[in-house]
């Protein structure tokens, strides 16, 4: 799974920063039919966790109501230089991960 994460490279300590992630995933609803009329099984990214230096800062539980190629934007306080790691899993059990590092001044 291809994903794109957007985290500012640098920030001041205590600054509220924007974090964005977009993952390439069909987010199959389970309501569609294939060319033979057979239903395509539901397969969505059901959980996504974001950790900042190992501490969970954001978690999303998603269903079929989330658009294909899920996009999320949220905020966090820049506390220390470190890694922001995303991990997710879909209904088929396929896992994905993406990371970004941030440098915090002051």
């Amino acid at each position: 799974m291809i994903a794109r994460v957007q985290v500012p490279r640098e920030a001041k300590r205590g600054e509220i920063i924007v974090i964005r992630i977009a993952i390439q995933h069909k987010m199959e609803t389970g309501y569609r039919l294939d060319n033979f009329g057979k239903p395509i099984p539901k397969n969505v990214i059901n959980e996504l966790v974001c950790r900042y230096d190992g501490v969970e800062i954001f978690r999303a539980e998603m269903g079929s109501g989330v658009a294909a190629n899920p996009f999320l934007e949220f905020f966090t306080v820049a506390e220390a230089s470190g890694e922001i790691v995303f991990e997710w899993i879909d209904d088929a059990g396929e896992r994905g991960a993406e990371r970004a590092s941030i440098k915090v001044h002051g």
Binding site: T29, R32, E56, F58, G65, F74, T76, V77
Partner: protein, 152 residues
């Protein structure tokens, strides 16, 4: 038969054109009863209206991907912060779209995403705060091309 003058003709026309609007409005009514789902989220505790804002375009021409932003009024400190936000749909086959878990580290209780909407409806967001209270807000969205209906 009385003579049909222009004024009367126009008023009849206007009346006729208004007729199809009546069932159209009824079709917009919610299909999902969210009360039991909200009661489950809040574990039976009262959910008050307010503090939660859902921003969407009021007219979404593609129900497959509708951008939206949920914001909750909260100082987001260790003592007082938003714990989770649930997003619910009036008309989607699965009413619970997503649940977001936040914490004091978020700094700002705002989450943006893109959702699928099965037609014109009202979106509801329920937020759980660290003091155990629940707040809700919503937004009306007109969807011209809804998701779920086509087989494409």
């Amino acid at each position: 038969m009385p003579r049909l003058d222009r004024r009367r003709f126009c008023s009849v026309l206007a009346g006729l054109s208004a007729l199809p609007m009546l069932p159209a409005r009824r079709a917009v009514a919610a299909e999902n009863d969210l009360t039991p789902i909200i009661a489950k989220i809040s574990a039976g505790r009262p959910v008050r209206e307010g503090r939660v804002r859902v921003d969407t375009p009021s007219l979404a021409d593609n129900g497959h991907s509708v951008p939206l932003k949920i914001s909750v009024e909260s100082p987001m400190t260790a003592a007082e912060h938003v714990v989770s936000i649930s997003l619910l749909s009036d008309r989607n086959p699965r009413p619970l779209i997503a649940t977001y878990h936040l914490g004091p580290r978020a700094g700002r209780a705002t989450v943006s995403t893109r959702v699928r909407l099965n037609g014109t409806q009202r979106l509801h967001a329920v937020a759980k705060l660290s003091d155990g209270s629940f707040w809700s807000g919503g937004a009306n969205v007109i969807v011209t091309e809804s998701a779920c209906l086509d087989d494409s």
